[in-house]
């Protein structure tokens, strides 16, 4: 969300490039972006890994019975997600806790670090969120069939509904099930992208002296909102993962 808005040549007006912040570019030199190229995406993903290490490894270094501040934060994050997995997906879902915690921490740190001015936010990219959402979808579907075999399909057969309605409901359930990875990934990428783009538009308006106070005030407000959204979207992605996992473990309505 850098503020590199420029006046167009001739100074006739404001130029908006609210989407430039999402461009993936090589970190060293410029040229083709190959799959192995170290890009700004790599940098900010690595920074989120460092942030997670800082919180969960350095923060818990003392391993004190009476925790330090950072250790307390790490324990609270751990407890928050652990309890979520336990409450939403059931006690037998606890073995998936490390995977879910990995997703939560990555999304949370990518979102929050992305709010640093000039940062790149990996979670704005559908490629990133779709891989995570598809990973969850495939894991949950395969797990459901492995654990329950054909009875997993009863998930789509609403036995509490009148018999005549059940085929229709089954179609609806099937469609909603198939759409899950789309909504799961687009929700996250869309929410973060929209926030960052809006902030950039406000930043562009700030270049005009007349409405600069309004634009800057708006940016401050949107920034606060985006900070909230960064946490909420990480939470939403995680809790939906837990809900989907529950379907795989206990596919009975």
């Amino acid at each position: 969300m850098a503020t590199e808005t420029e006046y167009a040549e001739g100074g006739s007006g404001l130029v908006f490039h609210p989407l430039d912040q999402f461009i993936v570019k090589p970190l060293f030199g410029d040229g083709q972006v190959y799959w192995y190229t170290v890009t700004n995406a790599t940098l900010w993903m690595a920074l989120s890994v460092l942030g997670i290490m800082g919180l969960l490894v350095l923060g818990t270094r003392g391993a004190g019975t009476v925790p330090s501040r950072l250790q307390s934060m790490a324990e609270m994050t751990y407890g928050f997600i652990y309890k979520m997995v336990e409450d939403v997906s059931g006690k037998d879902a606890v073995r998936f806790f490390p995977y879910i915690f990995t997703l939560f921490l990555f999304i949370l740190f990518a979102n929050v670090l992305g709010l640093i001015p000039t940062a790149f936010t990996p979670t704005t990219h559908i490629a990133v969120t779709a891989v995570m959402a598809l990973g969850v979808f495939l894991t949950v579907t395969i797990l459901g069939f492995v654990l329950h075999g054909g009875t997993f399909l009863k998930l789509f057969w609403v036995s509490s509904a009148p018999l005549a309605l059940r085929p229709i409901l089954a179609v609806i359930e099937l469609i909603s099930y198939m759409v899950r990875p789309v909504s799961h990934s687009v929700r996250l990428a869309g929410a973060i992208t929209a926030g960052h783009a809006v902030m950039k538009v406000f930043a562009a308006f700030a270049a005009s002296a007349l409405i600069a106070p309004l634009a800057i005030g708006g940016m401050v407000a949107i920034y606060a909102l985006e900070l909230l959204v960064a946490f909420i979207q990480a939470y939403v992605f995680t809790i939906l993962t837990c809900v989907y996992l529950k379907d795989a473990l206990h596919p009975h309505h």
Partner: protein, 185 residues
């Protein structure tokens, strides 16, 4: 997973960025960058998972378990101490009650002893008083008897003298009888 696609299908260098460095369309939809992001995402998630499962999660779980254990132990020892406090309190109450009872016994005994002594002294004093009274009464009655005798003698003498003064010879026997008559009356 999409590692091979870019190398095969990456003919255009700048398909998503124009000459000015601005995005053409949404950068999110630029398929050229997908493989790069997916690759690094998988590396990142693997790294995070590795860090979590090898270092962070066991450590935090151990710390939480240890804390739970410490809390349980402390609560248990606090309860034990509370029990000991109750025991000590009961013992204190018991010894206090014992001491009170003993003090009461001692004071009762002492009181009874004093009372007995007092009674003894009182009865001895009563006896002495009775003795003295009897003695005194005896002395008084002796004195009274002698006094009566003396009165008789004096009266007889006085009567004899009076009779003599009247010029008569007193009959000792008659006077004595008359005096006895009078004194008795």
């Amino acid at each position: 997973m999409a590692d091979t696609t870019t190398e095969a299908g990456a003919p255009v260098a700048e398909a998503c960025v124009d000459a000015g460095g601005s995005a053409i369309g949404m950068p999110q939809l630029c398929t050229e960058w997908y493989a790069n992001q997916i690759f690094w995402l998988l590396v990142t998630l693997a790294a995070i998972y590795f860090i979590l499962s090898r270092v962070a999660l066991p450590r935090i779980a151990a710390v939480l378990a240890e804390r739970q254990g410490t809390i349980t132990n402390d609560v248990a020892s606090a309860e034990e101490m509370m029990l000991r406090v109750r025991e000590a309190e009961a013992a204190y109450e018991k010894s206090l009650a014992d001491a009170r009872a003993e003090a009461k016994t001692i004071s009762d005994e002492t009181r009874a002893k004093i009372q007995a002594e007092l009674d003894k002294e009182l009865s001895a004093a009563d006896a002495r008083i009775a003795e003295k009274t009897a003695e005194s009464e005896k002395a008084i009655s002796e004195i009274r008897e002698t006094a009566v005798e003396n009165v008789r003698l004096v009266a007889a003498d006085v009567a004899a003298e009076i009779v003599a003064l009247m010029g008569d010879k007193a009959d000792a026997k008659a006077i004595e009888a008359a005096v006895a008559e009078r004194v008795k009356g």
